[in-house]
Symmetry: D2
Amino acid sequence: MALKTKEEYIESLRRLGTVVYLFGDQVKDWVSHPIIRPSINSIAMTYELAHVPDYMELFTAMSHITGKVINRFTHIQQSQDDLKRKIKMLRVVGQKTASCFQRCAGLDAINTVSAVTFEVDKAVGTQYHQRFNDFLKYLQDEDLVCSAAMTDPKGDRSLPPSKQKNPDQYLRIVEERKNGIVVRGAKAHITGAVNSHEVLVVPTRAMVAEEKDYAVSFAVPNDTKGVFFIYGRQPSDTRRLEASVMDVGNINFGGQEALIIFDDVFVPWERVFLNGEYQFCRRLVELFAAFHRASYGGCKSGVADVLIGATSLVAEIQGTHTASHIRDKFIEMIHLNETLYAAGIASSSEGHQLPSGGYAVDSLLANVCKLHVTRFPFEIVRLAQDIAGGIMGTMPSEREFKHPEVGRYVEKYLEGVAGIPAEVRFRLIRLMESMTMGTGSVCLLLESIHGAGSPQAQRIMIDRETDWEFKKKLARRIAGLD
Amino acid sequence: MALKTKEEYIESLRRLGTVVYLFGDQVKDWVSHPIIRPSINSIAMTYELAHVPDYMELFTAMSHITGKVINRFTHIQQSQDDLKRKIKMLRVVGQKTASCFQRCAGLDAINTVSAVTFEVDKAVGTQYHQRFNDFLKYLQDEDLVCSAAMTDPKGDRSLPPSKQKNPDQYLRIVEERKNGIVVRGAKAHITGAVNSHEVLVVPTRAMVAEEKDYAVSFAVPNDTKGVFFIYGRQPSDTRRLEASVMDVGNINFGGQEALIIFDDVFVPWERVFLNGEYQFCRRLVELFAAFHRASYGGCKSGVADVLIGATSLVAEIQGTHTASHIRDKFIEMIHLNETLYAAGIASSSEGHQLPSGGYAVDSLLANVCKLHVTRFPFEIVRLAQDIAGGIMGTMPSEREFKHPEVGRYVEKYLEGVAGIPAEVRFRLIRLMESMTMGTGSVCLLLESIHGAGSPQAQRIMIDRETDWEFKKKLARRIAGLD
Amino acid sequence: MALKTKEEYIESLRRLGTVVYLFGDQVKDWVSHPIIRPSINSIAMTYELAHVPDYMELFTAMSHITGKVINRFTHIQQSQDDLKRKIKMLRVVGQKTASCFQRCAGLDAINTVSAVTFEVDKAVGTQYHQRFNDFLKYLQDEDLVCSAAMTDPKGDRSLPPSKQKNPDQYLRIVEERKNGIVVRGAKAHITGAVNSHEVLVVPTRAMVAEEKDYAVSFAVPNDTKGVFFIYGRQPSDTRRLEASVMDVGNINFGGQEALIIFDDVFVPWERVFLNGEYQFCRRLVELFAAFHRASYGGCKSGVADVLIGATSLVAEIQGTHTASHIRDKFIEMIHLNETLYAAGIASSSEGHQLPSGGYAVDSLLANVCKLHVTRFPFEIVRLAQDIAGGIMGTMPSEREFKHPEVGRYVEKYLEGVAGIPAEVRFRLIRLMESMTMGTGSVCLLLESIHGAGSPQAQRIMIDRETDWEFKKKLARRIAGLD
Amino acid sequence: MALKTKEEYIESLRRLGTVVYLFGDQVKDWVSHPIIRPSINSIAMTYELAHVPDYMELFTAMSHITGKVINRFTHIQQSQDDLKRKIKMLRVVGQKTASCFQRCAGLDAINTVSAVTFEVDKAVGTQYHQRFNDFLKYLQDEDLVCSAAMTDPKGDRSLPPSKQKNPDQYLRIVEERKNGIVVRGAKAHITGAVNSHEVLVVPTRAMVAEEKDYAVSFAVPNDTKGVFFIYGRQPSDTRRLEASVMDVGNINFGGQEALIIFDDVFVPWERVFLNGEYQFCRRLVELFAAFHRASYGGCKSGVADVLIGATSLVAEIQGTHTASHIRDKFIEMIHLNETLYAAGIASSSEGHQLPSGGYAVDSLLANVCKLHVTRFPFEIVRLAQDIAGGIMGTMPSEREFKHPEVGRYVEKYLEGVAGIPAEVRFRLIRLMESMTMGTGSVCLLLESIHGAGSPQAQRIMIDRETDWEFKKKLARRIAGLD
């Protein structure tokens, strides 16, 4: 069977010679680094649950190319039901990690490239689809993670790739050789970049003829020569380096964002999936966007479930959970959170078959889903902070909590309703702090805005996906004009 | 085949001796009354489309009791797909009528009573389900409309039914006879009450033991002795009595709300579906609510489609439709409107089978759907009025527009971009006025708040349907507490 | 003393030969017309309160040109305190009429033209300011109403005045004579146009050199040759023509919007206040906008006070006013409404002196005020409809309420908490209907969007009035960049 | 003159023997501690600006008790104008520090206690006001900072102080001695607690007769025996301990929250301002709340000015600042931010004189102000993050930026529009990170919710301050009911 255990996954990372920089040093044993490890644990959860009986059905699927049982995170969706299951699976991992678990971007990317290579081949007679299927078979059989490297640094955003002062602001082909191509550039804000096995590069926007060199898609192993990773820092990240564990909040799990440098990297032909066919970049970007925007309805609602649960416990500890205004805020949190999920489900349930045979979500509804994701988590967080109280910004550190002299004062005044140890409140408040103002807020807030494309990208797609003529015809008829 | 044409439907209403009061008179030929007729036209659309090839599949279904092809508006849903089709069907009728088309309440009520009679029988050994199926077979075979009469006047809402000064503020059984029961009371705000063939009465809230007499459900023909209807008035209703047609806005279609008086009405046993089993009232109310709250994701998004279309045309006429801030407002309108639809679809797609064999929507998501319906249409309307401009509140009447002397001035100054007759703008502005401040605003705004239950009812259900313990467990685990 | 009584005001209107069209006829006795009269009553309130001891101080002021006691509605504000008093005065009239009382537009226009004529004279050596003061003295001494005619029909809004296919889409000078000018065009959506004594015309936008003919400001009596008025219709307007008074809702008061046609109207030099000085149009428009946008913080909060009061009474009658979720909605209504007022007060309190000696509001805050006015009333209305219930769209007419046979049923089932006559509820629901979906909704909703300029106009001004460089400097310093 | 320089202020702190715990240790040289020092710098700004000619007028006032020139932060406001100046002063310090500068809570507290001691004396014949004035004179003459210690830990919030399992959950008098009282308890979330000279304790809620011991107000020096401080930790706080300065974001300034323990502290009579007069606790709390809620309209808008400025610079660097959707977001940020300020100004401008002679803000408008503060900063932050992009959560550390090998890659790909050093972008992004997800987010987000009372407290006051009867009377009159 093609399913790795979580231990095998972690072990497999150690075997890679991935080059990672963090806080000014190249980190050799990055798999054990306390700042990096939680993000590895998050991905590991996607392996673990595939072996847990209760979740097995949701976390596995049958490969459409090999017929084997595979991890659903490597599956090309074959039905509306597959699309829905993906959303449900993402919600579960969000609930189990309370963080970005990073593996969905690659999943959405392989579904995209699978479809688009088929369409490119059909349109211009290339052979990308078979190449891609070979790569996919390898991913599925080995149960690997691939990151989706889409976003370029972009430099001056008022200018297209071809007009940048620095031509490398968008990743591009700098040389074509007999056996492959050489690429240069960077991909920024890449989720789960470091703890993946492979990086799948795709263009970040529609391209025109003079931007052919930027119309490139390929996959290489993470430890390919010329590829290296610069780890991004996040709020409160160094708490994981402190002795105290309780101040961390989310003890075991976390997300990860990195800048990937491609310093004249050679890619052999068998791993090249787009090579100058600029006219398909828009299609690729929009299809990926639709997949990934729907995904956010699953993962973010799962992460917010944890925040809502923590808030609920804190309200109980503080003796406020039955107050009508508190209930009202809880209801609002649920209402907003389930809306994200509902839109993810609806876009899946309304999915359609692609020429390649795979299934795509409804793009209009997927964009609606993501646009809510750029808003509602902020209100959910605001309500969580409202319910929990100011303590989230004023609570002493674990070291005072356990201090031989002042510890008893901290404990005494942290107590809520009788009978619940102060530590419970301490840990939950720290979790809420981390999810709303600390490391976790990158996942729940900032990434909710920009992941899978910034809000304006969703708005443009909503405009484009709307059948305005149809609506105008409806109105004309009602007004007696036709 | 059991499908009536729209003409047969209208004819069948004439054969009923329904007693209707409007503006101080009993209206004999109410089927032709210009204020009532548009609401009949709206229901007629549900008949018409069942015969139109493009819509036939969506508007018909196979009866689970007779196996015959029936109008989907009389169908007991048998799958998630059936639930989704219902939402799509409602959106289509909303698009074709730009108004409340009234027939969905009865549809949701028969699905509810079908399920609950089964459950009551099973629990307490009654025979309601078979009775109900007989009634249902009649509805399906004859392709009839039944209204759903749920809301009682309620008197002093701080008091339960049994504590009201006037015991008739909730409809109740006042006498039990050998062959049936006698009921007294009223049902208020009943949509499509007058132009239905039958009225299906259900309780409006959970009841306790001392409220047994209020725990009653039954169906009677609209022209039953003791039943009469008092038509509700709405903004701008009398424009339909004026000579000018253009000032009406929505020329042909409209909604309808009425107060139904039950003045000691006899109901034979074969039409009684609940008779004192107070402990099932909550179940009935909540199940109906879930069905009907999901429905609003279909119908209201369909109605708003027309408003969006009209606004789009008006923006073109005024030369503003490409301005970035105008596009942004259109996108927001679509975003909000599709959210309603997405939630309706999601609650259907996540539906589950009931003991009776029928299917129910996901209640949490259905309540989320409806709670958005209580908010977003107001923002959609605000944006529509923003785009259209102040003219919607200042435009002269059709009579000035066609006036021999001043008409040419009105026409001259109503012109927008060159080449579009001023009448087009006139009609569309009137349509927008009617949908946002006139008769149609009852449907798009007020009814969006209160139909299928007021917002607080949705909030209570969202609280109740949330698995708080599950979420708390998630948080405890992440915080390292378990 | 220069103060007219309300009776004198009404009488003075009768003496004018104003030409008014309504529903296809020229209305001779328009002062008594049941659709027009309520708007006259609203303005009359501004006269009445100037004689009521409790309000006298607020409603009168000392003329800065004559030193006489005048109605504050004709006063050029001389201090921050004057600006604040204006806001308070407007709130009072809003509270007393629950409608647009129309006289503030003229007030803001005279303050604008007073300031701008001074500035034009100073810059280009004209003599407009003295001319205008002569006109102003006449207004003050006779205690007259002048409407502010700013908005042109605009035709194709993507084109400037000089590029319109129909050059009259913006009012313009078509001839210059020895003793004055001849103008042609129309002014649309003019509040209180008909029941004013004078119309003060100002340009609607910034103009460029080739639009000199459109850069015109003047005042003429309402019954000037070539001037005539076409009355705009509004939702439910004809209820005032029905026999029943209760169905009207707001029994005595209303607003008024009209289209004014200037069919080659001669204006003598002494009434011309701008004649081709196109470079001052922007200044004039922006100054008027600031004054008028602040005004909305007063009048609309006053009108909403009535809606909130009505909703409060209805909640009491229905037995819901102490429920926590109802209280919460009331609090939100107050919160939003007081924000409008606060912004109006703040922009006044931060007002500054103009070169002419008069005072102007803070333009940034005035635009902030108005931008809220384009949003919050919709939410206030939504909450009011939420609290009041569906009855607002389903209640029978007054004729059923008083019907010899069915009246007792209507009354019986309209009763709320014991002891309050059903008529009280009936009247209040009708008032709420009229304010939220009927005639009054034009004032509270649509006009809140577009009066004093559409939201986008406020947004542009907010951008322009912000000192971005200052804010950037602040950030640079904090980031250690300077 | 009574004005200290900023250096004198810092020096004066060193002379105090304040006991502070942070990260498990008592910090001896807390004045120089890198985590604490920024909060000292923020308060120091209030001293510095009183000596800067441009700000002198705003930052000083004339003492109403001594007639001397004092720092306005120690002034009892004597007019509406004084109230407005306070708001303006707070905005300036917010702009200069981009953080909570802590000194306003004490200012609002002295204004409150000054008023309430007067009222208590008048009502029950005590001598608190003179005592308080002696204390005040000392504060003013020495130009000291006093913190406002109001919030108790509260334990189980469903229970009043007298019913808590631990009676010390609210600070209380445990002993009365001949020369004073002994108090025990804690005050939590106390802003600027450590870097003040004095702590002014006031009750946190209304009290009843059996809670007399909790009805206590007093002031003691920070280094009083039995008083000690436990410093609260905040997101990213330890970045200030790292070598790199750029990663900090807000280089020099910060806020401060601490838990103050009162471990049986003796307070001499001359420093006791309330001693059991429980019936005045509500008055005291509500008056303080009104003052402090208005203050937030000043300080938070000032802090947000810096965020808006930083966002504006970042947009320029990224080449997006002229895009219409970006401008729209900036306008919205300004709109929301100025609303906070407007409400602060309005509540001041509508202030009224108290029996003591001092001035209080309008309580309704102050609560409206603060309720907006609990919402709008979240939307401002969301928009800032939207404009700035995902980079805020993915940017490498300063150490990679300056790294000998990888630094040039980071710099290369951080460049935006040509000609602006990457370091500018780096610093601004870090500032934005710190203000929206780091240490500064405690000030801008969490504290905006809970400082000066949580939202529900504002809602209750808005309900209480509304004249419902007046509004109901307005509605009755318009509906023709009176």
